[in-house]
Symmetry: D3
Subunit: 276 residues, 6 copies
Amino acid sequence: MNWLLADEIIRNALVEDIGHGDISTELTPGNDRAVTGRFKAKQDGVLCGGLVAARCFTTLDPDCAVALEADDGGDLKSGTVFGTVTGPARSVLTAERVALNFLQRMSGIATQARRLAKRCQPAGIRVVETRKTTPGLRMLEKYAVLTGGGYNHRMDLDHAVMLKDNHFALAGGDPADVVAAVKSRAGHTMKVVAEAGDPSMVEPIVSAGADVVLLDNFTPAQVSQAVREIGGRALIELSGGINDENLEGYLIKGVDVISIGALTHSFSALDISLDI
Amino acid sequence: MNWLLADEIIRNALVEDIGHGDISTELTPGNDRAVTGRFKAKQDGVLCGGLVAARCFTTLDPDCAVALEADDGGDLKSGTVFGTVTGPARSVLTAERVALNFLQRMSGIATQARRLAKRCQPAGIRVVETRKTTPGLRMLEKYAVLTGGGYNHRMDLDHAVMLKDNHFALAGGDPADVVAAVKSRAGHTMKVVAEAGDPSMVEPIVSAGADVVLLDNFTPAQVSQAVREIGGRALIELSGGINDENLEGYLIKGVDVISIGALTHSFSALDISLDI
Amino acid sequence: MNWLLADEIIRNALVEDIGHGDISTELTPGNDRAVTGRFKAKQDGVLCGGLVAARCFTTLDPDCAVALEADDGGDLKSGTVFGTVTGPARSVLTAERVALNFLQRMSGIATQARRLAKRCQPAGIRVVETRKTTPGLRMLEKYAVLTGGGYNHRMDLDHAVMLKDNHFALAGGDPADVVAAVKSRAGHTMKVVAEAGDPSMVEPIVSAGADVVLLDNFTPAQVSQAVREIGGRALIELSGGINDENLEGYLIKGVDVISIGALTHSFSALDISLDI
Amino acid sequence: MNWLLADEIIRNALVEDIGHGDISTELTPGNDRAVTGRFKAKQDGVLCGGLVAARCFTTLDPDCAVALEADDGGDLKSGTVFGTVTGPARSVLTAERVALNFLQRMSGIATQARRLAKRCQPAGIRVVETRKTTPGLRMLEKYAVLTGGGYNHRMDLDHAVMLKDNHFALAGGDPADVVAAVKSRAGHTMKVVAEAGDPSMVEPIVSAGADVVLLDNFTPAQVSQAVREIGGRALIELSGGINDENLEGYLIKGVDVISIGALTHSFSALDISLDI
Amino acid sequence: MNWLLADEIIRNALVEDIGHGDISTELTPGNDRAVTGRFKAKQDGVLCGGLVAARCFTTLDPDCAVALEADDGGDLKSGTVFGTVTGPARSVLTAERVALNFLQRMSGIATQARRLAKRCQPAGIRVVETRKTTPGLRMLEKYAVLTGGGYNHRMDLDHAVMLKDNHFALAGGDPADVVAAVKSRAGHTMKVVAEAGDPSMVEPIVSAGADVVLLDNFTPAQVSQAVREIGGRALIELSGGINDENLEGYLIKGVDVISIGALTHSFSALDISLDI
Amino acid sequence: MNWLLADEIIRNALVEDIGHGDISTELTPGNDRAVTGRFKAKQDGVLCGGLVAARCFTTLDPDCAVALEADDGGDLKSGTVFGTVTGPARSVLTAERVALNFLQRMSGIATQARRLAKRCQPAGIRVVETRKTTPGLRMLEKYAVLTGGGYNHRMDLDHAVMLKDNHFALAGGDPADVVAAVKSRAGHTMKVVAEAGDPSMVEPIVSAGADVVLLDNFTPAQVSQAVREIGGRALIELSGGINDENLEGYLIKGVDVISIGALTHSFSALDISLDI
């Protein structure tokens, strides 16, 4: 987590919500009183974004103080109070919605990640998110996946080479040639991930030296076959439409990673309130 | 929609995803060829974000051209191709993910909004979102709600006065006094929305001149009673835990608006692909 | 007031004035000494911008401290010292001009607003500014109008619907139809203001449900006639060339609001100095 | 003029005024029609900001086109149409107010500058503004002074050394020593301006090598005496409370420059309209 | 290369150099004439930054056109003209210095990179830069290294894990334990680089699974010994004070990469002029 | 130095280097321990950038504290420890590289400036840098030249008028006419520098009133002749290919300033480490 970036995201979110001022609170008599708000879980789940929420209040007003009794990654039981914010009513009321917007979303993602991670763990498989993250919030969403017990795929397009069907089609030749050509120019600290669109592509890709082979939309049977074929020469990642329903079939020994887009593109916010 | 703001959101999303460069594409031979990608719906739903997706490509590279055969708000059938992007492979591949991230999310929201709006329409009730939007994307998400057939609640904290239980508690007195005090200072173009936390608050709030009375967590019976009591003196908005399951009970004649947080905080992205 | 935005305006103003450094002060021996500057009114008027001026110093240097003996909205008598700033000479001298530029302008606007508000008050009429504000400083100028005793018109183009002659001309039909069409799509928290360019437009606009009818360039006699005609069905705002000279004639009972562009487009800065 | 900076000021002003969208125009039927607006002077004055106003429209929408029949600095007669803007009604209406806000203010400043410049010219004296400019708009306001026939003082604190009473007081010694010390360290392309708070300071300052001596709050008689004393050894600038009323007395041969804060801190916008 | 980022760097550099305007050019009669400038090498070297320089002109003024006869990476002979820029004199003169500042620096780095790369190539060793890049220009400088024939180390702190002496000291235990612990949590697309501060650390680090072992400040003899010891189980990178003088001794078969900080922290700009 | 600008440069540099997080440090056990790092010179030179380096740590984490035992401009001996930073290991390690990148570069420039300044001082000549600075870092690099004992040329294109061969060519006439024309419009606080491309241009330029005459690529003999000819009527600056080798010949009495581009375009970073 780079807090310099997080602070900028937080500030922009506050500006987006406050506009030129929270007129309701400004016009309410007594808005200078000190109040205390209690963060309360209204569903079971995994806490994530506690510090982000805290910074929403303190960025708006350094006179706010937030005390958290649970760390990110901790289990929340419905009904539990897990922290408080104290400060001038004017500031607590104004920042409340933005703080909760972050907290509910990040906790929602972490909760989903934990559920999936727990299912995969016995097979020694990692669950990772994809690049299907919310524009502008990738760092926070990846952090939430990690907090929930998942792992992170590459952060963005410059973090690892990832060759897909379109790249192979462009180059117009043998995928193995493309993998080899790219490896000769990519940095020595960079891994090369290559996608096998069908079983016949697995061997050439692995032989050409890919560090990770991504089996895209393979059936469980095809996966098992590929695991044997690869024999440890590359990490194995599964992707493509794997979800809660069909996950079980893909928990195949030898698979290293399963990437699931829904982790960040289709989740429910965790219900958390701030009671003042 | 303010496209100056939208363009900034788009640019930042591209920078977030591209980092210092899409090394996979840069290192792939043939990346200068012109290619055409086709936007294809893989689920039924409502299209939203077509122009936003288009600008992802043209912002990255003015040599890209996007042609859309459907407008935002149009129905998408699974399998339908509704537009194309043509340009240098290097640019089309690099912008693809960000364009889809916007398109899938916005279409997901519009699809959910349409479903709910259709259910409420016969009762003459509007469905609106809340301020539980994704930090940084509120303008786009509200646009998606509108596109789907919903309506918009206030944009941010400076667009309308909205007095809730916390404001009344702060002022420490009669809610009616607070409403009256606020009205005397709020701008003449601004409406005052006041939340009734229980049935006893309805009459004082309405008498004090609130333009909209928000019935929070009322039972259907309480709502019916309040509708009679208010008798057209204020607009009536329902909020608090109304969802797909319990919506039917709240479709009460006389209610003007139902606000549903899940419209923007818990949705599934619509599955859309770009086939190149 | 959104201080996150105000702080950005203040920072940018300091950067604009300081450039790469205040070389005069940097090269002056003794610039590290602590000094105290006293804010002194050199004209009678209304103080506005005290906290903004204070933040100019503390933004540049947290070692500066500002103590204000008067609040925004307080009356200043020529010759009165109403506050002090203490800090390293280097910082106090460097931030002085920017602090005064804000303070003098905002106080100038508040002073003019108070003068006009006092004249309108006996008739129960509000004075409001328009969108003819200084680019980049709207929030501060509207705050100054409010501080002086005026009220605020809509903040920007997304805060309320306002239909003028050009909108009616575009739609090419009956103004009443346009008002009705717009109302059916605008958010339920939004008011619709419609401009009557001549007396014949008043009735249709009001009947169509406009919340505010704006009588543009009406004569006092036309205004009186319109007030009777409207009979409380809509708020009444006057605009168009109303100024100090002709204001008296427009103080007509039943009018709610008079908007005056000169409040923010043609004012004199209030003379305030910082004596060190 | 640095147009990269001007374009940023223009964009920010548009965003400030448009917020999340010009809902009135968006909801008006027919907003896609092409319209033409004509810029018309409603007062006599000096045109300034024509290109800035033009860029307001084209920044918002490249499909707008602006044709100006008069250049900045040209005389405007009340009633004259001096340019047109053509484009989609939606864009022309949305950008109109911001474009006029710039145009009216810049023309107001240029008009005032021309009036004062004409009075000073026969005496061979330049009129310049001060640093009492509107925060955020200094570049545009200085350009307006120049356009009107005035000249520019230093742009900001890093453009020239300017030693005032406070600097001398800080250094605690002979002003001449301070001037000399500063000259020994300031860049060779930089001038040193030094303020004489009373007649006794003139000679030491000039002897110490100041390039410009600023006579602050001198009486005309004191100015005349100083002119003789300086004898061409330094440029002579007058400042401090010189205005329309007392200007005549200061038009003394040998004076080079008169700086007038009111040029930018207290002006009236020139009345210009856009008729569509 | 992410051109969205590059364009921002270019814009900021122009603003830095132009300030509020290029007054010399603005005041020069004839500044609207079209002129042509020719880029000429005044030293032998490697061209780099041609497109960056081109965008300096076109960013300032779209009426400028740049034609380059050589690509980045091409050899420049002293005296060669390798491109032209045509446009309004005002724009060509104003952007000239910034364009050359980029071009000269980037070409200087590429030239140095090529010299070193050529020396290392016969031994099958890559030359890479470090994170000792100029703040704000890392992307451009890494591109220049690549252009010259070098390779790139990780882009920033989130691109690969790199464990140095300080990390091992912090963890307070066996480096191998730290490597193993980190690998269990780092993303599967990420490599782990670990620094061996002395020969005894090589084996544990490699056994623990580091992808790259960095031999820091090893003597050539120690390097040879380590190469044998590692036996292909990890990539081998040398760092620490390797420079032109002592490079020869480190060209040891089996070494994969040599990182040289001076590539970006101590270089000479290549002399290139723009003749108009 | 404008620290508001410096802080922005520092923040951007940290973001550039940290990306989405320093994963190596984040994953290292014990990263919350307090550590102390010592800044140590590994070469002789001039310290510059101490406060900039300090702010790198405190910007990232206010819990870091930096104590410097030497001021900018102080002599560093190889091996000397001149300051410490104390703070959480996580923050000290993460900010280390950026802090050193500034410190090493700025000290490198100051060191070179001091060497050249010392050579020129006996002849009463100032050494100044040019506009050949690193894009984005001009303020810091000019500060480093000043710190080393050099002086500063104009900051950017709006700080002084500087007419070169291209300007004269554009105007198409007598350089003296151009100088005179420009002086009649340039601000009274601005100097006019004019470049003499050959000896015949000196007299006309000086007669026309240039404040500084820049002798470009003159031989020492030509310089001596020009000094006599000018006779104190203008400051004399030498430029064009003057460097360590040929400097001696240009140390001619009567010359005021020698500008040397290499001061900022071709320098070696000073070797400074942070030992933890």
